[in-house]
Symmetry: C2
Amino acid sequence: MTLATFLDTLTARLPDRAIVTDAGQIEPWLTDWRGRWTGTSAALLQPSTTQEVAAIVQAAELHGIGLVPQGGNSSMVGGATPPSDGSSVILSLRRMNRIRNLAPDHAVVEAGVILHDLQQAAVDVGARFPLDLGARGSATVGGLASTNAGGTQVLRFGTMRAQVLGMEAVLSGGQVHDSLAGLKKDNRGVSLDHLLVGAEGTLGIVTALRLRLVPGAVQRAVAWIGLADPHQALALLRRLEGATGQIEGFELIPSVLLGRVLHHIPQTRAPLAGEWPWHVLIEATAGPADEPPQQLLERLLADAPQVGDAAIAQSEAQAEALWRLRHSISEAERAEGPAAQHDISLPIDRVPGFLTEEARLIEQRFPGTEASGYGHLGDGNVHFHVRAPAGAGRDWADSREGKAVSALVHDLVTAAGGSISAEHGIGQMKKDELARLAPPARIQALRAIKRAMDPQGIFNPGKLID
Amino acid sequence: MTLATFLDTLTARLPDRAIVTDAGQIEPWLTDWRGRWTGTSAALLQPSTTQEVAAIVQAAELHGIGLVPQGGNSSMVGGATPPSDGSSVILSLRRMNRIRNLAPDHAVVEAGVILHDLQQAAVDVGARFPLDLGARGSATVGGLASTNAGGTQVLRFGTMRAQVLGMEAVLSGGQVHDSLAGLKKDNRGVSLDHLLVGAEGTLGIVTALRLRLVPGAVQRAVAWIGLADPHQALALLRRLEGATGQIEGFELIPSVLLGRVLHHIPQTRAPLAGEWPWHVLIEATAGPADEPPQQLLERLLADAPQVGDAAIAQSEAQAEALWRLRHSISEAERAEGPAAQHDISLPIDRVPGFLTEEARLIEQRFPGTEASGYGHLGDGNVHFHVRAPAGAGRDWADSREGKAVSALVHDLVTAAGGSISAEHGIGQMKKDELARLAPPARIQALRAIKRAMDPQGIFNPGKLID
């Protein structure tokens, strides 16, 4: 009855097409894109203005209905999937997809603008939006901000937090926070923008963003390095960072994962002639005033003692082929069979040791498993996979052993001063682990802030923190 | 009695020298450095460890005693001065002044480390701490972080927020938040670091920081430009920013204020031969791989149509002399007589209009006043002074007319989409104006967060928000 009166209230206040109740139209949005979580939603709300979002928030608080904000539904942790108890409805921001303003150094865009569309719009004004990730064709800027998304350009430009120059968001009471003017200095108390970045929609609904654009990169160069171990990779990274500010990508890949890509993915081939236990993919970029990136990499890599062997792409096609090896790891891993996957971060100095010593410890504790990590070394962010023993079922990661493996990984990460969520967030998937492992100060503060900003408990219930 | 039992509790838990009750030793810290606010404090607490701060917070919550965190006591808005009702004591962080760790790219320092000491320590490792301001000899890093301090390098390196890589802070319950490991990616819910930056000590006590260091600047060049109006200055800034990333300072100064410096400050002289209504001071820096800064400025300024006349310092002494003109404005203004001063920010495009049209409007509304603004144009941050009519008393700024002038300035700033506090914070001074002018969404959120993070109301009571 409450849900029915909630929808009646909205029907009186919103245009017809903002409320979808046809089950067939709602159904595709009830399950996350990897098919791990499914919920229920009696309606799909799709407002097209900030005022409509405010009306929805007011009605939801009045009737005690949860709102699950959803952009491209590309969460890796079930963050945009509604609960299954019928208490909530999906609030899709996809129809709020206007680019309100575009200049060479910033864009003001609504929450539902898709990352790829923003990237293209930036190119059209000779600029670049400096954040990129695999879900660029579906992920929306509202979701990217709410999850403080990362990706492959973080090393140089930072996470989504560093791109947010201003924000519009609907808070409790339907009140609108608006910092879209983009003041560079504003010390009127705590920053609500920075509070909402990474809050996963649990404190309010982001409706628009003012985002940083950077000068369009004129050239890039990509190199593939073979080296002895991850300690050498870290030393090489330090050396390069000391010599230039033009390094945008520095991806670490163990030979076992490269081998898997070459085995499973068609039309791939080894970038180096010899065998190396570890590999690094490096991307450098340059604007008109910088040293040409290929020359830069040739110069810096020529006498670097950490480099075992190196190949520098001689064409854009070769550069693409090298990146394809890196981007195919996830697909190759899926083809190989079940594994427990972890999105973790560590103090950078601890990454090499974790990928060797802690990885061996896990394999010893769970005989037959294989632990390997790859990813953004410069961010301390590793995608850490533990493969199931031979013969394990497809859902091994959710089995008792798989969960015990993940608990051990999280324990070791925590002991090393790291984070159990580097870039994917907490959502539903890691909520229990956050409650188990986060320091008491963090748990207490997150709970207090949640209750303060969402007294009726309507914003993305069941995610992040209770 | 409550205060007495509070101090008894602390005496039992802390070493003797952490609790000062001698009135003579307390007295210098009861008044802000400009002498505008005075409070009372029965004791001066000066812990030397984080554990001691935690014990103090626990005792304060138990006994309902307010804690006024204080570093160098250099607040411009009464943010570190205790209330006068005897309900609170000063919690000085000055004895927590250890540099815990120092590397070329970061420093881990306790809250009581003085800015100038950090700057020197950075130089000793070939690096630079990229934030500077006039109070460098007394301001502490804990206060700088709690107020999200700005200064003259913000254009290139951002405010204090951009320097904070990690934090240690004592929250309600004496619980310690610790992100000093400095994870580059950590998406375990909202960022407590970003919540505490700019909170003015009202949500917890910052005890240590991990701060960004940048490569030591090898060379700098300073230029003084004469031009026709602030619109030309903004156009010149845009032109320079489009051509180089090496501009660190861009300070706008009207001729009336330059004239006042030349009149009141000994051993100053006009940097240009002719008369110009507006002036700009530009600083560019360069590392080893960059174009030499003097050559850079000569090249970029030579054909810039906005430049009326330009002088580029030919020596470090000349560069210092140009900066001295800028840094002496505050002193010259004090020598000239009473004025109402405002630390405001605006969307950058609105600054030139505000400094001309809104300034004239204020002078018309209050006959005999003179309104002029100067400061960090690139940040949209203007120090906006309205001089009293001839014959006004020294405390004119606090008179009915002075307050009416400030209210009008704040109204105009708010109408232009700006902030009534760009870099000094709210403290006691602007609390009523914040309550009057901030959007309801901001007021509601600040109040809710304050109650959530400080349920006993002990953290810097009477500042920022009630």
